[in-house]
Symmetry: C2
Subunit: 143 residues, 2 copies
């Protein structure tokens, strides 16, 4: 089970913003699209950063409401971990658990082609474990 | 596998605030404690509401920075779904997926005794499915 399979189920559209938009625009987009994180890309669709709901709460706590008028580039995470279509669900789960983040942009040839969330990973992992258990139950019943 | 078992692993301490605190205090507590949601309780430790990181982003988008100075009671979710120690992990997962929330306060005798997150539920569910698969692999290998 790998990232290509997850993208096949959920699609490859990703909502992105450019580094110059304000934190207020990020907040409005997160709320309007009902998503937990936004990837910030340059004009060539290369990943420049990522910012999550959790980041918004953290920077508001640290800096107050003035952050809303500042560009997202000041506050986004710039060292973005990414994955490729060939990475496995098990690897994603370890990566997300070890580094405590919930979203991994999928990059091929330097360009953003999708995003995978912890929810997507969990859904696949549970499905795989339950499928294995069911096929073994059948094997035991008919063996 | 039930809620009592999850609380045995993660403990029963829950960070709560009172309904009169400001949204700014909520933001600071969420960030300081590195948690995703806060339960709002009255003096008797009865659940009065719940507010999450996602709620903060949503109310900021709808109302602007002025919300930070207003009491959390204006913005918290007041119809709080809760669970008890006897509820199963499968039931929690269905409840969380169906209603799209990530935290369920645990209530006994009308009082808050813990909180369960989607992360806790997922961890238990994956562990249970993997345990079943492993025990069947052993059964098949030795059978």
């Amino acid at each position: 089970m790998n990232v290509a399979r997850i993208l096949k189920d959920k699609g490859r559209s990703v909502i992105t913003l450019t580094p110059d938009v304000t934190v207020r625009q990020v907040v409005e987009t997160l709320a309007g699209e009902r998503i937990g994180a936004l990837v910030v890309c340059d004009a060539d669709r290369r990943v420049a950063g990522i910012i999550s709901e959790r980041d918004i709460v953290r920077i508001l706590a640290a800096n107050g409401a003035a952050v809303l008028d500042q560009p997202v580039s000041h506050y986004m995470t710039k060292e973005v971990r990414t994955c490729t279509e060939r990475d496995t669900v098990d690897w994603l789960m370890e990566e997300m658990t070890a580094h405590r983040f919930r979203h991994l942009p999928v990059v091929e040839g330097g360009r953003l082609i999708g995003i995978v969330s912890i929810g997507d990973v969990v859904k696949q992992r549970i499905a795989a474990a339950e499928l294995e258990a069911a096929s073994m139950r059948e094997y035991i019943a008919t063996g």
